[in-house]
């Protein structure tokens, strides 16, 4: 049994890992995986570098940003790819507030869960596509759970949020989901992925392959037994039961292809977040 | 000698009265069964062995400490805290000065407390400093003064209070003979002019006799006896004079008497 620790954050993207762990699919392949929940995915690169975790689950832009700044990370497996029909994310605006059209965002404050993180990039992209000058929109870092209170108090005018918080905000009447952003973005890009350092990957190619295989098997299992899978997730993500039950589950895909990152590479380059043209091929493990 | 305390001339209007006062400190009896009266304008000197409770007696009079039993009255009202017209020269002069104020500033403190307007203060401070010989050092800080200068500074501040009762705890202890004599005479002058009542602690028996109307001798470890071992009236004419008074036969007699008195043990 090879012991590895995998960092994750509290989102349903990691459901296959929980299933693989609980159903013994890792153990079957000689992997003793310890999932380690972290509050913020921004510490994942440092955690990888220090060896505190061997594999880290984080949003795809983290991989590109780290590589762009000289830290060699490679993606080892995917979680899910974007689907246009998903309504797991959305831009909510203050109910009866000033924002009615994309143009209204100018001069307003928009809460994002992490600056320069995936949802921030997507929001900017979405606004860009609608001809809004994003430099005149203020983005504010606000943790998901606080977005509702901040909207209510008027500290922010809109927020990009995800389930289960999206549902809670809409259902409490504080905000209204005016823009289901997901539908307006191209399908097929990688949402979050599992990554590791290239040094570790080079030495542990076998483990990486087994890890991916186990996830793939877990995805098949989860499709067959959705209730069991949800129960497995409940052990790793602590949420009130009714919230857990209502949590939307994305469509999973453990195989990770460089092409799934092209959208990010283009968007981030466009937003001048990257200094060099990313070499996507080197960022994905074979 | 105790009869003197009962002397009707003094008791008729005692300014201050100790009524069977006792005080414990650190679980030990320091002052015991003290009955004492001070007349208005009287100059009383206190002598006694080191650690016998002289300082403690003075602190009782200021109201800074309260007796364990008995009571102290001033004009028939019980003393329960400091009054602005009771001034005290502390024995540890160095600690009683404000280190961040100059010589003049330290004297000024007393005037500020009494609400003397700023414009009038220099005209009070200057002569006082002159009197104690610090006029040339008005802008120095206490840390730049010698021990005797600090002591004189404290005296100046007390005089600035214009007290009607002046309590002095070895006020001239750190002064040379010359300075001491001139300050003794200054003090006598002041008392004569203002009618201040003075309680004056000293280890110098001659000084006690030279200055006082009466000399109190305290005993250490009073046990069940009274702390007051003796009260010796000084019947020397006033105004006193450094030369003639000190050669006065009564002076010499008292000196001998006191010296013999403190030589014998008073357990």
């Amino acid at each position: 049994q090879t012991k590895i620790t995998v960092g994750y954050t509290a989102v349903s993207e990691f459901l296959p890992m929980f299933v693989a762990k609980e159903r013994g699919l890792f153990a079957k392949r000689g992997l003793d995986v310890t999932p380690q929940q972290l509050a913020y995915s921004s510490v994942m690169p440092a955690a990888l570098q220090s060896g505190s975790v061997q594999i880290a689950g984080a949003a795809s832009p983290v991989l590109l940003l780290a590589n762009d700044n000289g830290m060699k990370l490679v993606g080892v497996a995917g979680t899910s790819v974007h689907q246009r029909e998903s309504n797991a994310i959305g831009l909510v605006v203050k109910a009866n507030g000033p924002i009615k059209t994309p143009a209204d965002f100018v001069g307003k404050k928009v809460g994002v869960p992490g600056l320069n993180a995936a949802l921030h990039i997507l929001t900017r992209k979405w606004l860009d596509d609608r001809g809004v000058d994003t430099r005149r929109v203020t983005f504010v870092e606000a943790p998901f759970p606080q977005m509702g209170d901040l909207l209510r108090g008027g500290s922010i005018d809109a927020a990009i949020t995800a389930d289960p918080f999206l549902g809670r905000i809409v259902q409490s009447g504080v905000g209204a989901m005016l823009f289901p952003v997901a539908a307006d973005l191209p399908a097929g890009f990688s949402n979050m992925l599992y990554m590791t350092t290239d040094a570790w990957e080079a030495k542990n190619g076998e483990i990486v392959k087994n890890f991916r295989l186990a996830l793939q098997e877990a995805i098949v299992y989860a499709q067959a037994h959705p209730e069991d899978a949800r129960a497995d997730m409940g052990k790793y993500i602590k949420l009130p039961p009714q919230v857990l039950a209502a949590l939307a589950v994305p469509s999973f895909d453990a195989s990770l292809k460089a092409s799934q990152l092209t959208f990010w590479a283009d968007t981030m380059s466009q937003q001048q977040m990257l200094r060099a043209v990313p070499k996507l091929d080197t960022m994905v493990a074979k | 000698m105790n009869a003197r305390i009962m002397d009707p001339a003094v008791t008729s209007a005692p300014l201050i009265r100790f009524d069977n006062v006792a005080l414990d400190l650190g679980g030990r009896r320091i002052i015991n069964g003290l009955d004492l009266e001070l007349g208005r304008g009287e100059f009383v000197c206190v002598v006694g062995p080191s650690g016998c409770g002289k300082t403690t007696l003075l602190r009782l009079l200021t109201g800074l400490v309260q007796p364990t039993s008995g009571a102290i009255f001033r004009e028939n009202t019980r003393i329960d805290g400091p009054a602005r017209d009771v001034a005290i020269v502390f024995q540890d002069y160095g600690r009683a000065l404000l280190p961040w104020r100059t010589v003049a500033g330290n004297v000024s403190l007393a005037l500020e407390a009494a609400g003397v307007p700023r414009s009038q203060r220099p005209s009070v401070i200057q002569p006082l400093l002159q009197k104690v010989g610090l006029a040339a050092h008005a802008d120095k800080y206490p840390a730049e003064l010698s021990g005797g200068m600090q002591q004189r500074l404290q005296i100046a501040r007390c005089l600035a209070q214009q007290p009607s009762v002046l309590l002095m705890d070895e006020p001239f202890g750190a002064l040379d003979a010359m300075t001491r004599q001139s300050l003794q005479d200054e003090l006598l002058d002041l008392v004569r002019q203002t009618g201040t009542t003075v309680l004056f602690i000293t280890h110098d028996l001659e000084e006690a006799i030279y200055l006082g109307d009466r000399v109190l001798a305290l005993r250490a470890n009073p046990g069940s006896a009274s702390s007051l071992a003796q009260s010796i009236p000084v019947d020397l004419p006033r105004p006193r004079d450094q030369l003639s008074t000190r050669e006065h036969p009564e002076f010499l007699r008292l000196r001998r008497y006191l010296f013999d008195f403190i030589q014998e043990p008073h357990a």
Binding site: Q146, L150, G153 | A96, P99, W100, Y141, Q161
Partner: protein, 257 residues
């Protein structure tokens, strides 16, 4: 006199030498590659980032905004700290009432208080200021309380014997004695205010160095982040130097103890 002066200058040079040694150490660590440049950039990369940032002006604006926030929060904290500290210091009764509450809220981390503060006050600049004041008030307050309690008992007696009122005691004896303590407290408060100003900016996304540092950190742009950190050091250093000047002119008298 001149000897003292030249030794002052020598110390100043020595101080710069010590700082230089630190920078050299920093350079050494990064060239030896002990720490990935993603987390610790080399001094020269930081310098480049600092220069570019300053040239396009954005960094300067952010710095000024942070300084302003720091100063206001710090002044707020100092005034509150001195006033409350004095009240507690001279009144045992008041101490009994409020000190336990203060000691309870003192160890609450800003990051734990912030969500509550945000829920109550929103993301306003006022919220950031109150968090700064909240976090940096303690050194001043504790120092004031301690300073007042350490007044020589003999001086308290002097003030009673002279018949000084309580407020006169505070102004004429309490504060002059406490001044060095309060200045030490204020010096600490200043840096805490600076750190909290940037934390507050990060959490409440007010414009300033904090947002710059955060967004650089989130993009793994360590040179830009450390450019911000260097600026913080500079602000800390300059403000402390100014405080020392004020202290020396104020404490000229007090030092003569």
């Amino acid at each position: 006199m001149s000897r003292a002066l030249s030794s002052w200058r020598a110390d100043r040079l020595g101080g710069i030498a010590v700082l230089g040694a630190l920078v050299a150490l920093w350079a050494g660590v990064t060239t030896a590659g002990w720490v990935s440049p993603v987390f610790l950039p080399s001094p020269s990369a930081t310098w480049t980032a600092l220069r570019t940032g300053m040239q396009d002006g954005a960094l300067l604006t952010a710095t000024l905004a942070t300084i302003e926030r720091m100063l206001i929060g710090w002044l707020l904290a100092s005034v509150i700290g001195i006033v409350v500290g004095t009240a507690i210091g001279v009144s045992p009764a008041l101490r009994g009432w409020v000190q336990p509450l203060l000691e309870f809220i003192r160890p609450l981390p800003a990051s734990a208080v912030m969500p509550v503060a945000m829920a109550l006050l929103g993301l306003s600049p006022g919220m950031v200021l109150s968090v700064i004041a909240f976090g940096s008030v303690w050194p001043v307050m504790l120092a004031t309380v301690h300073g007042l309690s350490s007044v020589d008992p003999r001086l308290k007696e002097v003030s009673r014997v002279l018949g000084l009122s309580r407020s006169a005691f505070i102004v004429k004896i309490g504060w002059p004695h406490t001044l060095p303590d309060v200045l030490t407290g204020m010096r600490l408060s200043l840096t805490i205010a600076l750190v909290l100003a940037i934390v507050g900016e990060m959490l409440a996304s007010q414009e300033g160095l904090g947002s710059n540092i955060l967004s650089a950190a989130r993009s793994f742009r360590s040179p830009e982040m450390f450019a911000g950190v260097v600026l913080l050091g500079l602000i800390g250093c300059v403000s402390n130097a100014l405080l020392s000047v004020a202290e020396r002119s104020l404490g000229q008298r007090a030092s003569a103890r």
